[in-house]
């Protein structure tokens, strides 16, 4: 209990009332008290300035101020001291009003006994302290939010309306806080990103999760700003709110870009002179520049060795810098791990001077799984060359590949010098070369193992080591067995992210095999995979660009193109489709395997992996006659009627006819056809004029045309109109030629 006396300021002008209170307070109390009596508000104010009080008992009818104003004034002067109102029976309304404005309690004079008074005072002080503590913490919170270096924006989870924002949010968005509050949270995002972020936001609320991601917001000048967002959902007084902390990462992105450019430039600048140095030395050594003595050769060999070492250092420094900045992307494809080891080994037989026994223990049937072959080749090469470095001529290196249900395991073991127990954990640290004194003196960079470990971990695998000094070292790593579906979805998600980051389109072309399980059954698994892998090579040839990805997927094959538009996507799609069909018919598989190509575009059509895949399945690169409307324009009505009947029987959705050019244009204003078959010699308006009018109107410029003419066509006239080559068929008409041309033209205009 507090040993200091409770300091009470009693403001009461009625001596009788004052005495009564003083007497009540002088009764024995659990705490000692010190009462100061003043009889007007001015004096009360003076006393408060002179010394601290714990509580004020305030009468509301004073000579210098009365009623509610008396309280308001005093409270304003000393908000830090709890005030208890003393009032008469008839003034209760006033007292209640004062409590609403911040008074702690009120007492009705004449009804107060010692216990009640004490009770009131103690509670007033406690309540006031609590309130003060709350106010302080609120203030701390407010200061924290306002002085934060990041924008902090809180939105109502149910409506998405922003209910709070700090000063930094104002700076970031270029919108005053007053106007940010009340905006919908999606108003902060660029138009094309709204859907994506809304989904993220809704998922988050659904699962009550925190999200940490990078995205773009748009400021009042419609500039896109990259931000790092950390957002969380919480329940504040029964209301779900989402609070997001937005950090402007424009600078960081700039620095990352600079670093990339720097690394790339340095790499290029170092390698180019190194190339001449290496090749020059090498030509000396090979005798291309005249005879060299043995001693000269010996030195040239040393130089070559060190050039190679310098090259390796450059490579590894670049590798580690790329891995650390997260800029290494995996290109996982189905491949055989056993094959890979078999392809790596001969590289060692060739140029190693030490003859070492290298044994392999591998499953005979091979081991197929999804991984980035280039990266795993790097890992295995590194492990074998490490083993080689620390093993002497009588030693042995063993490479063992095995599998469990969920993973593949690779172990490279040697009978070399081994690593001591205390040094074993250090071998995966950067720039650490342990027990080098014990080794055969081969120098490295100390980066090979950290890079290998990082690459394996990127695959979702693990790497560890076992070693006994004098007996040898075993390095193990695992690779998880993942399905093509997981890999495909992951890869598509990465590409979407990349496209969003670069603000470019992503075209998904889906090669969909009909009834894949039947095809698999009739061909057998191995043959099926061979066909898929052949088609994958065809698709890879078909994309031309190295940024584009071809990957297996549950539907068959998927091709992902960045930095192009629908037209580019269709061009590639058609090219690939044709090469698939040629391949299948050449292999006489066209009756067994039916493959369709579908296309979907991020962000134009869909924005998420699932919906892009679904959309691509629907948008097939095929001419569906049931959707095609054809306009036949010819003054020979019997001919058009005959053609109409023939075409309708072939399944075209709609065939319209017009007997001259003017009528054709009139019809087109109402119903835009997918294809026009046009006679050139017509009354009222001839074919050339029709084409001229169509091509100058943007609404009709892209409608494909087939010319049908009884007379030779003036091709110079067509060229002058700037039209692309229009197919010309001469009368009398060959039906199959027409069908062929229609299909080709429609395909080209997909």
């Amino acid at each position: 209990m507090n040993s200091n006396p409770l300091r009470i300021l009693l403001v009461e002008d009625n001596p009788g009332d004052a005495r009564l209170i003083q007497e009540t307070l002088s009764e024995p109390q659990p705490i000692s008290m010190e009462v100061t009596l003043v009889d007007n508000l001015q004096k009360a104010y003076q006393s408060l300035k002179e010394k601290p009080f714990d509580v004020v008992l305030l009468d509301l009818s004073l000579p210098d101020a009365t009623g509610f104003e008396a309280f308001v004034w005093l409270y304003a002067q000393a908000p830090e001291i709890p005030i208890i109102i003393l009032t008469g029976l008839n003034d209760q309304q006033l007292a209640i009003k004062a409590i609403r404005k911040g008074a702690q309690d009120y007492l009705i004079k004449g009804t107060v006994d010692s216990t009640r008074l004490m009770h009131s005072i103690m509670y007033a002080i406690e309540r006031h302290n609590l309130k003060q503590a709350l106010k302080n913490s609120e203030k701390k919170y407010y200061n924290l939010i306002e002085s934060a270096n990041d924008a902090i924006i809180t939105a109502d989870a149910e409506t998405g309306i922003i209910i709070d924002a700090n000063k930094k949010a104002e700076d970031l968005l270029g919108i005053p806080v007053g106007r940010i509050i009340g905006m919908h949270y999606t108003d902060m995002y660029p138009e094309d990103q709204k859907g994506f972020y809304q989904k993220v936001f809704l998922d988050q609320i659904g699962q009550g999760k925190s999200v940490f991601t990078n995205l773009f917001i748009q400021n009042s000048d419609r500039q896109r700003i990259p931000v790092e967002v950390s957002s969380s959902v919480s329940d504040i007084g029964g209301k779900m709110v989402v609070q997001g902390i937005y950090r402007d990462i424009t600078e960081r992105k700039k620095i990352e870009k600079l670093k990339d450019e720097f690394v790339s430039a340095v790499s290029h600048e170092l390698r180019t002179p190194l190339t001449s140095i290496r090749e020059g030395t090498s030509q000396f050594l090979d005798g291309l520049l005249g005879e060299t003595t043995d001693e000269q050769k010996q030195f040239l060999n040393i130089i070559l060795e060190d050039i190679d070492r310098l090259q390796q250092i450059i490579d590894e420094l670049l590798d580690i810098s790329k891995i650390e900045s997260g800029r290494v992307e995996l290109r996982r494809e189905q491949a055989d791990l056993v094959d890979l080891v078999c392809r790596v080994l001969p590289r060692f037989h060739g140029f190693l001077r030490k003859k070492l026994d290298i044994t392999t223990i591998m499953p005979q049937k091979g081991l197929k799984l999804f991984f980035d072959a280039a990266k795993i080749t790097q890992v295995i090469t590194n492990l074998i060359s490490n083993a080689y470095k620390f093993t002497d001529e009588k030693g042995k290196i063993t490479i063992e590949v095995s599998e469990t249900e969920n993973e593949a395991r690779i172990c490279v073991s040697d009978t070399g010098v081994g690593i001591s127990r205390e040094n074993l954990p250090k071998i995966f640290e950067k720039f650490v070369q342990v027990d080098r004194a014990n080794g055969p003196g081969i120098k490295g960079t100390g980066l090979g193992l950290p890079i290998s470990k990082a690459l394996v971990e990127m695959h979702g695998g693990q790497m560890w080591a076992e070693s006994v000094v004098g007996e040898g070292t075993k390095i193990f790593f695992t690779l998880p067995k993942l399905s093509s579906e997981i890999i495909f979805n992951e890869s598509l998600a990465t590409m979407i992210e990349e496209a969003a980051g670069k603000e470019t389109r992503l075209i998904l072309l889906l090669g969909i095999i009909e009834n894949p399980s039947d095809v698999k059954k009739s061909l057998g698994d191995d043959r099926f995979h061979m066909v898929i892998s052949d088609m994958k090579s065809l698709a890879q040839e078909g994309v031309y660009r190295s940024d584009d990805t071809v990957i297996e997927c549950p539907e068959g094959l998927a091709v992902m193109l960045l930095d192009t538009d629908r037209k580019g996507g269709l061009t590639v799609g058609k090219r690939i489709k044709k090469s698939f069909q040629d391949y299948l018919s050449e292999k006489k598989l066209d009756t067994v395997i039916k493959i369709k190509l579908g296309i979907s575009i991020y962000p134009d059509n869909e924005k998420y992996t699932d919906s892009l895949i679904e959309d691509a399945k629907k948008n097939l690169l095929e001419v569906n006659l049931r959707n095609v409307r054809i306009l036949l324009v010819d003054d020979e009505i019997t001919l058009t009627e005959l053609m109409k009947i023939k075409m309708e029987s072939k399944g075209f959705k709609e065939v319209i006819t017009a007997s001259d050019g003017q009528k054709a244009l009139d019809i087109m204003r109402e119903k835009k056809p997918d294809l026009i078959i046009l006679d050139m010699q017509m009354p009222v308006m001839n074919g050339y004029e029709v084409i001229g009018r169509l091509k100058t109107n943007p609404q009709t410029a892209d409608i494909p045309i087939i010319i049908l003419s009884g007379f030779p066509v003036d091709s110079r006239k067509l060229d002058e109109m700037g039209t692309k080559k229009i197919p010309v068929l001469s009368k009398p008409l060959d039906d199959s030629l027409l069908s062929e041309n229609i299909e080709k033209v429609l395909m080209d205009n997909l």
């Binding site: 690394v263 790499s267 390698r271 290496r278 090749e279 020059g280 030509q283 050039i307 190295s546």
Partner: protein, 137 residues
């Protein structure tokens, strides 16, 4: 037999000189170009058996040069070997390996380059036994 004709496109004088010397020592006939445009022109005129192409050129990106060559019927079948300074293009370039062509990272081993050129020309000519000679009328 006529010597095999190789076109080398690289903007670095030193490297052109080195490669030319190495290839000539191995019996090749060597044409050199210092820009992409010049390279494309020489390829169309002389139709070499193979092109060694640096990725970074002053005017066009090597990948663009390759694409132009592949899209032109007269040069589409000439195999291209890329020289790369193995920067961030490295992984992307590796894809060309799949297409039958390859890339050699700088710095390279001259004798390896020779072997790779020989192997590539051999593997192409087994598919294409008949090769039209553009120098003849």
């Amino acid at each position: 037999m006529d010597p095999l004709k190789v076109l080398v496109i690289d903007d670095e004088d030193h490297i052109l000189k080195m490669i030319k010397n190495r290839l000539e020592a191995n019996g090749f006939l060597v044409l050199t170009a210092k820009t992409g445009h010049e390279g494309i022109e020489l390829a169309r005129q002389h139709r070499p058996h193979l092109i060694v192409l640096d990725v970074i050129l002053p005017d066009l990106n090597g990948r663009v040069v390759c694409r132009v060559l592949k899209e032109d019927e007269s040069t589409a079948k000439i195999p291209v070997i890329f020289l790369t300074a193995k920067d961030s293009l490295e992984e992307k370039m590796a894809e060309y390996e799949v297409g039958g062509e390859c890339h050699i990272p700088k710095p390279f081993d001259g004798q390896e380059l020779v072997e790779k050129i020989r192997r590539t020309i051999e593997s192409i000519s087994t598919f294409e036994t008949k090769r039209s000679n553009p120098d003849e009328p």
